[in-house]
């Protein structure tokens, strides 16, 4: 009998414990409340939790908190890649943060689906002037801003100057066209017997993928401009078969072997001096710097499709957004204004060696640098004028899933570029959303 009592006691304790917990929680989870000092507390979610980035973003927040006496911003780190999931769930439940860091390319999607807040009433007309135009355009939906650009990036061509000298190339004359890129690569290849010891260039390694090259060839035209389709175009088909030719030249085996060796992402083929030319963002410089190697390298814009063409490049970026359901959109917008202004942006640029959305801050940050650091940073800023984002089109959010298999088919030698793109365009048309 005694045992039974103990048991029922245990069970009731567990239930009681759950109830108490449930009771306690009710009060403090009702969104962003005002704190004791009468200040509004803003919840800010970012994925900048690393040892290097966290102190920077928290210093900026701290500066903001000290700059005024109405609002206190509270930063919470939410893991990279999972922040979107958490944001969506929180918006759906009506309990979101006040400001979140999210991807620039789907701003219009969240705007359309009523997941973010129209900020036009809080931003004045001068707001747009502080940003690079291609970034500002991407945060607009129906002509109204639903976010403010924060940071961005752009792809550059890194080249190994030592390898250039070895191959008899002028280390101060990087390739400017696709044709030159081919010629240089052939000279930079080092082959021992039938295996490559160094590969001059392979367009699909690095930060500039097949879709990017196709866009570069097609005067910078995206597969979908707004909702206008431009997939099956002569220039894009030409670019795709050009890519397949690269693979043919080095051989399927070589490419697959190298892919496997560098697939883990821990070793970089350019830093290891196994590849002489390589595409990546400006921030890639920090990887070179931190490798401890004294790599003699240069940077250049992505080569143009034809002589006289533009050096189109690709970029991405992150924005500050006010999720729908935030209880303090006005205060949130004020915080966003501060975070995208020159002082905060310059601090971010310098400390993280990152491209920022604020033009003046970027230029001013570059002025304070020197050596390789300045060379890459200045090149990345200059490159932004030719940089395009890839906003996800409203009516075809999933379009890449129809194009990628066709690109793969061409790369595997199973289809001709022209036919593959024709098929891709037909497939994309089928998935149009209202």
């Amino acid at each position: 009998m005694k045992k039974k009592k103990t048991l029922s006691l245990l069970l009731s304790l567990i239930m009681l414990f759950s109830l108490i917990l449930a009771g306690c929680s009710g009060q403090n989870s009702s969104g962003s409340a005002e704190d004791s000092g009468g200040k509004v507390t803003l919840k800010f979610w970012s994925f900048w939790g690393s040892e290097t980035r966290r102190p920077v973003i928290e210093k900026m927040i701290d500066d903001y908190n000290k700059s005024q006496d109405k609002v206190v911003v509270k930063h919470t780190f939410v893991p990279w890649g999972d922040i979107w999931t958490k944001n969506l769930a929180a918006v759906a439940a009506g309990n979101p943060a006040d400001v979140v860091v999210t991807d620039i390319n789907d701003v219009s999607h969240r705007a359309k689906n009523n997941q973010s807040t129209d900020l036009s009433q809080y931003f004045d007309d001068n707001m747009k002037d502080r940003f690079y135009p291609h970034l500002w355009e991407t945060v607009l939906y129906d002509g109204k801003p639903y976010a403010a650009p924060f940071n961005t990036d752009t792809r550059l061509l890194y080249y190994n100057k030592k390898a250039f000298k070895e191959a008899g190339l002028d280390p101060n004359k990087p390739p400017t066209t696709w044709k030159e890129l081919e010629e240089y690569a052939k000279k930079l290849d080092v082959k021992k017997g039938s295996t490559y010891e160094r590969i001059g260039f392979y367009p699909l390694w690095g930060g500039y993928g097949a879709p990017s090259w196709m866009r570069n060839a097609d005067e910078g035209k995206n597969f979908l401009e707004g909702n206008k389709i431009a997939i099956d175009t002569p220039a894009k088909a030409d670019a795709l078969s050009w890519l397949a030719d690269w693979k043919k030249r080095y051989g399927k085996k070589t490419i697959e072997k190298w892919d496997a060796e560098f697939a883990n992402g821990q070793t970089n083929p350019f830093v290891a001096e196994k590849v002489a030319m390589y595409t990546d963002t400006g921030t890639f410089y920090t990887q070179i710097r931190d490798s401890g190697k004294d790599l003699d390298f240069g940077v250049a814009p992505i080569p143009a499709y034809k002589e006289g063409g533009r050096n189109w490049s690709d970029g991405g970026g992150f924005v500050l957004e006010v999720p729908k359901g935030s209880k303090h959109p006005k205060e949130a917008a004020d915080f966003i204004k501060y975070m995208t202004d020159v002082k905060a942006q310059k601090y971010w640029a310098e400390k993280n060696y990152d491209n920022v959305a604020n033009k003046e801050a970027a230029e001013s940050a570059a002025k304070g640098m020197d050596g390789q650091e300045k060379m890459v940073y200045q090149a990345s800023i200059d490159n932004l004028k030719d940089t395009q984002l890839a906003p996800i089109p409203i009516q075809y959010p999933d379009f890449m899933s129809r194009i990628n298999p066709q690109i793969d088919a061409v790369m595997l030698g199973k289809a001709k570029a022209k036919d593959a793109l024709k098929k891709a365009e037909a497939d994309v048309k089928k998935i149009k959303r209202k």
Binding site: G49, A89, A92, N95, E261, S291
Partner: protein
């Protein structure tokens, strides 16, 4: 006198055949072990390298210089002690709930006769068919309405409300326990709670330990739950903390791996301590026969 031809050749002897068989089995076992242990070794090896060595090509299998300080440095980049304690709390409380609640439910399904028993059992099992991602948002909204966001309740309470898989596992195990035990106890005047506590729990120990291990690991390794429901970093678990090493631009591989090794330790330890029961318990057809 026997001639050489009459004597069995060395490869015809029983001993040789047995040894050959064992060698072949051993060979495959060793090859399998190497295949399974290599990633683990890679993780440990990375956790001891410097960032420069990680970037090296070709990669080194054994670190040139052992950087044990990675472990201390990784731990001190954030409030990892706090996060680890949070994880321990959630895992322990969740495990207690899983073990007791599920076994009580399983006892009902295994040994009590009531109307619609099989129907309800199928209903319980059917909840396994829904993938977590389908229920994620509705569940989040439900817990949000209850005001449970940013508390541990969404992570703990479900453990006390039963899980189809554990109920199934325990029920199958309990089915193998002879009804005579229960009948005898009923004769002696024991109620069902008493039978459950005094007879079922001790007899199903292997299965309970299996459930405990699964529940502990499930909670310990859970990323999505804490990610969705916790909004304040002092409530975070160690799995969320681990994500601080992974960024949009760069990953701190040496710290990430060092912390991963440390996070792995409790689960490995628990498994080795209870592996005898674990193997026995996951075999849903054994029970008292084993």
């Amino acid at each position: 006198m026997k001639t050489a031809a009459q004597q069995p050749k060395f490869y015809q002897t029983m001993k040789f055949r047995r040894n050959l068989k064992h060698s072949i089995i051993l060979f495959f076992l060793i090859a399998g072990s190497i295949a399974l242990l290599t990633p683990l070794w890679w993780m440990i090896s990375m956790s001891l390298k410097s960032p420069e060595e990680i970037a090296q090509f070709p990669p080194t299998f054994i670190p040139e210089k052992f950087h044990f300080s990675n472990y201390i440095e990784a731990w001190s980049t954030g409030p990892f002690t706090r996060w680890a304690l949070n994880s321990v709390f959630l895992a322990v409380v969740g495990t207690i709930g899983s073990v007791f609640v599920n076994s009580l439910v399983a006892y009902g399904f295994a040994k009590l006769k009531f109307k619609g028993r099989n129907f309800w059992f199928v209903v319980v099992l059917a909840t396994m068919l829904l993938p977590g991602f389908v229920t994620m948002v509705p569940q989040y909204m439900l817990f949000s309405k209850l005001g449970w966001i940013n508390t541990y309740l969404p992570l703990l309470v479900p453990s006390f409300l039963g899980s189809a898989f554990f109920i199934f596992l325990l029920r199958q195990f309990m089915m193998t326990i002879p009804n005579e035990f229960i009948e005898a106890a009923v004769m002696d005047g024991a109620g069902h709670l008493k039978i459950w506590w005094h007879i079922m729990l001790p007899l199903t120990k292997p299965a309970l330990i299996t459930v405990a291990i699964f529940a502990f690991n499930g909670s310990w390794n859970d990323l999505l739950g804490p990610l969705l429901y916790l909004n304040e970093e002092h409530l975070y678990t160690i799995q969320l903390g681990l994500q601080t090493f992974k960024g949009s631009v760069q990953t701190q591989w040496n710290y990430l791996m060092a912390m991963s090794v440390m996070i792995l330790l409790p689960t490995v330890l628990i498994f080795f301590l209870f592996q005898k029961f674990f193997i026995e318990g996951s075999n849903i057809s054994s029970g008292t026969k084993g």
